[in-house]
Amino acid sequence: MTTAKAAAIILAKELRLEFRTRELLTATVIFALVVVVLFSFAFDPTAAESRRYGPGLLWIAILFAGSLMLNPSFAREQNNETLDALRMAPISSFAILLGKILANFIFMSLAELVLVPVFAVLYNLSLAGIVWRLILVLVLGTLGLTVTGTVFSAVSAHARMRELLLPLLLLPLLTPLLIAAVESTASLFAESPALDRTWFAFLAGFDIVFLTASWLLCDHLLAE
């Protein structure tokens, strides 16, 4: 079986489990919204202030929500040791990881679909004319977050304090991604919007590096 087909089977399983329980998605969306609303109370969101601080606040909300959502990705395979059943199946380890990365990417994207319009309204920022470029930045930023987060979810799944361990491992590593995503987003919210190609390329590079690393290390990541 090809890796793509096996990953699609894992993805379908993840989506079925999540849409049946809706545990992760609901908690993630609510958490992200709470963060954005609370930040909006911290300062007067005039257009100039929002352009200055808004992109950073948006990505911090996405990052925090992501670290909350990604933790159970592998942890919930511990309940009945279902990861063992997946590891025993004649599929590559990368297919398991890829299926979970894609599922997490979809969940995060759905959360952002709710979050970004609310963010734009609360912070008086117009999305007109920048929607497609903003989607590109969000896609690359979210991909980097989910690839790295899923990998570290696999690493921390066996740990006793995994809820604490994942953010501790993940957030420092995501600092370059955060900076690149914030700068790219800020360039879109500027008075004359123009996507900063350097930071955008950095985002793409981050994704490629971590996706390649996860492919190379997947056997070790999923080993007991």
């Binding site: 079986m1 089977i9 489990l17 009945n80 279902t82 025993m88 199946a89 080993a223």
Partner: protein, 270 residues
């Protein structure tokens, strides 16, 4: 190359070949595959779970792994399931004199180890939030089985859960979960069946079904390794008994020997 490194390298070969790449068809009837443990050692930090276990389990043998808690039975089975690496030594899958898990081209490779292994573990290895049918369908798809709907329906019918096809596994009793776990492990018709305390949670009816299922597997020529520290009727099928203690083989009735004395000792202990 030192012997231990050479054995580890061989084991790595087995792991690599266990990944799918070439033939992915499940054989229509289980192929005869044996399992060899060569001086296997497993350490968890300073704790040695296995200390130099060597066992040659021939294709078609039904081996009862006996021993108290902590004897190393589960560790041995998890290694045979390719879920755990030995610290030292090697686990090989054999077909007669040929080691089938070696590099493709060097030996005749007609079935890949991962397709050939079925495990019933301590946990059910099932998703509680999926239905019985969804669980089996998921694994049937991962094993690239043919006629998935028919295969799943037959498996559910066989384990007596045909009326609970659409029920979530979390609504099942312990015994029902165990029957489904056994059905999942046998879904792809493995030829090496690893059973870790498989009778746990089964009632008399469940035990009778399980023993009948095992008898069928034995007559099909499957190799069975079943660990237990409790006497149950399925142990009467054993053709060999191996007692582990402190991570070592304490007693082995051998391939040609009579396991009854060791099994009787288990009955006396209880």
């Amino acid at each position: 190359m030192p012997a231990s490194k050479k054995l580890s390298a061989t084991w790595c070969e087995a792991r690599r070949n266990a990944l799918p790449a070439l033939a992915t068809q499940t054989p229509a009837t289980p192929a005869s595959i044996g399992v060899s443990f060569h001086n296997v050692e497993k350490r968890f930090g300073s704790l040695a779970a296995l200390r130099g276990v060597s066992l040659e389990i021939r294709a078609g043998e039904f081996v009862a792994l006996l021993g108290p808690n902590g004897a190393g039975k589960t560790t041995l089975l998890r290694m045979a399931a390719l879920l755990m690496n030995p610290t030292r030594g090697a686990v090989l899958f054999t077909n007669g004199p040929a080691v089938i898990s070696q590099r493709v081209g060097a030996q005749a490779l007609f079935v890949r180890p991962k397709h050939a292994i079925g495990l019933v573990g301590h946990s059910t290895l099932l998703y509680d939030e999926l239905t019985a049918a969804e669980n089996l369908t998921l694994f049937a798809r991962l094993y690239a089985l043919d006629k998935i709907a028919d295969t799943v329906a037959t498996a559910l019918d066989d384990c007596g859960l045909a009326t609970r096809v659409g029920s979530l596994v979390r609504t099942f009793s312990r015994g029902m979960r165990q029957r489904l776990a056994i059905a999942r492990a046998l879904l792809h018709r493995p030829s090496v069946i690893l059973l870790d305390e498989p009778a746990a949670g089964l009632d008399r009816h469940g035990l009778a079904w399980f023993s009948a299922r095992l008898a069928r597997l034995k007559s099909d020529g499957c190799t069975v390794l079943m660990s237990t520290h409790a006497r149950n009727e399925s142990l009467d099928l054993a053709t060999r008994a191996v007692a582990l203690a402190g991570g070592r083989v304490d007693n082995d009735s051998g391939s040609a020997g009579d396991p009854r004395a060791l099994l009787a000792a288990l009955r006396t202990e209880q």
